[in-house]
């Protein structure tokens, strides 16, 4: 509905292979009808993809030996169990052998496996182009102790369009901790989708760090929680030229619980948009959304949150919080925390605050002999790090804490 089609839309049309499946063509038609979202579309108002994506890079092919070589070099050694994708394609050759770990099944995913995601043009586009994703399954009742790491890497050519589409499924009562590391390089276009399906009484700790996302990137997470399932998800974003990370969560069973948090540490001309739609589709579900932004230089932070409570979702408990810290006069923050409530016996609330570092706190630290730059770092660290506390997995918390302190260590003095 965006009127005239943009050049990028036409280019996508040219890139869709002639032998694409019928369902892929259907998804593409759906995308075409909505068009590439831009500022005239309410839910994309702050992230104008139409102006940011002028030229569409060629679509990445399944990784060849050269691509695997580059990826292998980047990977290095790790103690964690790793599952690797290159340009969105599952790369079993580079992944660890999971056959020895009880309760974990890894396979290629077929289109039929995915549950219906949200109505979003970029998700449709992803469905039209994606191939070669993985399905990570944690069996019924399985408790996986070690952290599983998903590593998304770029191949030999960085200036490509990537469309990863993967599925994580936890059976009833299963427990796991998953870390996703996205490192696809600073170029190209990315439109990825991750589906997470949580069975009854299952619990997942999920942390994602996006340090080097592609030039223009959209990441969509579709999450479905059955009764009493718990998801604790944290995203840490840094150095993102243009990233929109969107969450579509359906709390589908009674008593499901969601902790969705994130921190964005941005500088330069970075643009990060965290958008979430949390649908309380069953009674007595709990959701907490907590997001923190640290914005320096010309960075632009966007928060859009929406809690939807239909009439039958009585006893809903939803709280949303968004806080922005502006460190430079050229940084900007836009927040739109929405509530959409049709049930009367609920307790829902949201809060949003945007400000700069507190001068008194800085002064306090400086009077105790902490240099100005150090004092700033301490305060920023304290401001951002508490979003990690929602994670139950200590392993994941430590990874994110370390990442944050590394990030702040590199930081130029803010003022």
């Amino acid at each position: 509905m965006t009127g005239l089609s943009s050049k990028a839309e036409e280019e996508f049309s040219g890139l869709l292979p002639a032998d694409a499946s019928a369902s892929a063509k259907l998804f593409f038609e759906q995308f075409q009808r909505a068009g590439l979202p831009g500022r005239r579309v309410e839910s994309w108002h702050y992230s104008d993809l139409r102006t940011r994506l002028r030229v569409v890079p060629p679509v990445a092919h399944a990784p060849d030996e050269a691509a695997r070589g580059v990826a292998r070099h980047k990977l290095g050694a790790s103690e964690r169990l790793r599952l690797v994708t290159i340009d969105g394609f599952f790369a079993p050759e580079l992944s660890d052998d999971f056959s020895g770990v009880a309760g974990i099944e890894i396979s290629s995913v077929g289109e039929a496996e995915f549950f219906g995601g949200a109505a979003d043009p970029m998700l449709d586009l992803n469905a039209a182009f994606s191939r070669g994703g993985f399905l990570l399954e944690i069996g019924v009742g399985a408790r996986v102790e070690p952290v599983i790491e998903i590593v998304a890497l770029a191949g030999a050519e960085t200036d490509r369009s990537r469309f990863g589409r993967n599925l994580i499924r936890l059976g009833a009562g299963a427990r796991a901790a998953i870390l996703e590391t996205r490192d696809e390089g600073f170029a190209g276009f990315g439109d990825s989708a991750l589906f997470i399906e949580l069975g009854e009484d299952s619990q997942l700790d999920y942390a994602c760090r996006c340090r080097e996302t592609a030039g223009v990137e959209v990441q969509t997470l579709n999450v479905m929680l059955a009764a009493r399932a718990k998801l604790r998800a944290v995203s840490l974003l840094a150095q993102t030229p243009f990233l929109r990370r969107q969450f579509f969560v359906s709390l589908g069973g009674e008593g499901a619980e969601l902790q969705l948090s994130g921190a964005a540490i941005l500088g330069r001309n970075d643009h990060a948009d965290l958008t979430m739609v949390v649908h309380h589709n069953a009674p007595a579900c709990v959701s907490r959304e907590t997001f923190k932004y640290v914005l320096g230089d010309h960075a632009n932070g966007v928060f859009q949150g929406k809690i939807i409570v239909p009439p039958h979702a009585q006893k809903t408990d939803g709280k949303m919080l968004c806080r922005g810290l502006l460190l430079s006069d050229d940084a900007a923050m836009s927040a739109k925390p929405e509530l959409e409530i049709f049930a009367d016996d609920v307790a829902c609330g949201h809060g949003a605050a945007v400000t700069k570092l507190d001068a008194q706190q800085l002064f306090y630290l400086e009077t105790r002999g902490v240099p100005h730059i150090e004092a700033e770092k301490i305060l920023i660290d304290a401001f951002a790090a508490d979003v990690f506390d929602t994670l139950a997995s200590e392993g994941l918390r430590d990874v994110l804490r370390q990442d944050l302190s590394d990030l702040l260590g590199e930081k130029e003095p803010a003022s």
Partner: protein
């Protein structure tokens, strides 16, 4: 349980059908032909004997309007409006010539008496202690009478219908009209610019504190008419004015359109307090009839240290689409927005405010209380924006929603945009229902459920009621109780 059943039954008979201002006034009126075209725009302009520049201004707006599309982003749902099926001008006969009370049709005076609006100056003057309020009464498309003009004139305050101001103070009107809400602003504002009928004009000269409250009372009477009033208030340097508007309409089965534009200009150190008690006919409990209230209200804090404060009590209208805003341009200027929006039956409200911080050290405060009952939908939509140069901009927003019954909806859509690091924005919102504990406590002390609900709701909206001029606060409190009738049970 019998007593409960009884309450439920009583309540059912009351419902929103209890709208007490739903009568019509039998009075001859003069109307422009139905429909909207250039001829109608010229007709309205000619009826008001407007100068050429204003006719042209209207025509330009009309030309522009034809190229525009009706906005659809608000969370309201209504059938397509046929703009050709409306009367754009309707005036009670015999309203021309000098407007003193003696000239006004007694039928009209009775109407206002029924509405409880004091038009007779004598009566009010007789009561020694009574606070005096100057009233401009607008009936359909024209202003029928304005009281206390002479007394206000002594203080230098100009308070008259805008059509009169065009004749008597063209330089002021020409300077300020459309300077806050430009002709091209939005669909309904542009439509209003083309066909606006009447409304109030207020000018308070430098340093003058307006000696009494000013008020306008809007009444839509005629069938199939739209009301397009336009209000312009200018507070010159160091002045103060408090202005109140009220509105009602008869019960009718079809929907009527009300697309008003209100412009406020506050110069250096000036203060404008603008209060609204909006009680247009809300339609019946099945959603038949009612007013479409599509209003553009905006205040411009043009001068340093100026202040504009909006207070609104919204209980009427089938559909409300209204965002009284403040442009905080002057250094250290301040904007305030206090709102109570109550929806019942099948009413739909999408209302809120915009605080645009452009100048240094500007501050704003938003307190919004939404109460939805019955099958209504109540949305708060507000924007707080700090420009790069708006150093030390401050905003505090609090919007609370209360749900009564499980068929209604309450929504919050705030937009917070900060482009300056020294800005401090705080926003908080909650949605809840009346707590059973509170109800139980009140009922334990012998209150009926309805009374208890009204009491709790009045406590919920107290912050806003306190901002209203005293006599209107009392009225508003009663109004809240009436609009919530039928919501418990």
């Amino acid at each position: 349980m019998a007593a409960v059943q009884q309450t439920v039954d009583t309540v059912k008979t009351l419902d929103v059908d209890a709208y007490k201002y739903g009568f019509t006034t039998e009075i001859e009126s003069e109307k422009a032909p139905k429909g909207l075209n250039e001829e109608i725009v010229r007709f309205i302009s000619a009826r008001k004997k407007e100068p050429e520049w204003l006719t042209q201004w209207r025509l330009d707006a009309f030309k522009r309007w034809r190229t525009m599309e009706e906005p659809r982003w608000a969370r309201v749902d209504y059938p397509k409006i046929d703009y050709q099926d409306l009367y754009y001008y309707s005036a009670p006969k015999g309203t021309e010539g000098p407007r003193t009370l003696a000239d006004v049709d007694p039928e009209l005076l009775r109407t206002y008496e029924k509405l409880g609006i004091p038009l007779s100056e004598q009566e009010i003057l007789a009561g020694v202690q009574e606070r005096r309020v100057a009233v401009d009464a607008v009936f359909d498309s024209v202003s029928v009478v304005t009281t206390f003009k002479e007394e206000l004139g002594k203080a230098g305050v100009i308070f008259c219908p805008i059509s009169e101001a065009v004749q008597s103070h063209p330089e002021l009107v020409r300077k300020y009209l459309g300077s806050v809400v430009p002709v091209t602003d939005n669909y309904f504002a542009t439509l209003n610019s083309a066909v606006f009928s009447d409304g109030s004009f207020v000018y308070v000269p430098p340093g003058v504190r307006c000696p009494m409250e000013l008020s306008t009372y809007f009444r839509i009477n005629e069938q199939n008419t739209g009301q397009f009033e336009r209000t312009l208030i200018i507070a010159d340097a160091g002045s103060y004015v408090s202005y109140l508007e009220g509105c009602t309409a008869p019960k009718r089965d079809e929907n009527q359109l009300h697309a008003a534009v209100v412009e406020l200009v506050a110069l250096d150190d000036a203060e404008i307090k603008y209060s609204t008690v909006q009680n247009w006919y809300p339609g019946d409990s099945e959603g038949r009839g009612g007013i479409y209230n599509f209003v553009t209200k905006r205040g411009d804090c043009r001068g340093a240290r100026s202040k504009i404060s909006w207070t609104q009590v919204e209980t009427g209208s089938a559909i409300t689409w209204k965002y009284p805003s403040c442009i905080l341009r002057g250094e250290s200027s301040r904007g305030e927005f206090y709102s109570i929006a109550i929806s019942n039956g099948r009413q739909q409200v999408d209302s809120g405010t915009k605080m645009l911080h452009l100048g240094k050290n500007t501050s704003s405060r938003i307190i919004s209380k939404g109460i939805s009952a019955g099958r209504s939908q109540n949305t708060y939509r507000g924007q707080v924006f700090a420009h790069r140069k708006a150093e030390n901009a401050r905003n505090f927003t609090n919007c609370d929603s209360l749900l009564i019954g499980d068929q209604c909806g309450a929504h919050t859509v705030p937009y917070i945009e900060a482009k300056n690091s020294s800005a401090l924005f705080e926003h908080e919102a909650t949605t809840s229902k009346i707590s059973d504990d509170q109800l139980f406590y009140c009922m334990q002390r012998g209150l009926e459920p309805e009374e208890a609900t009204a009491l709790i709701v009045n406590g919920f909206v107290r912050d806003v009621l306190q901002q209203l001029p005293m006599e209107f606060a009392v009225e508003a409190q009663k109004l809240i109780a009436i609009s919530l009738e039928g919501s418990v049970g």
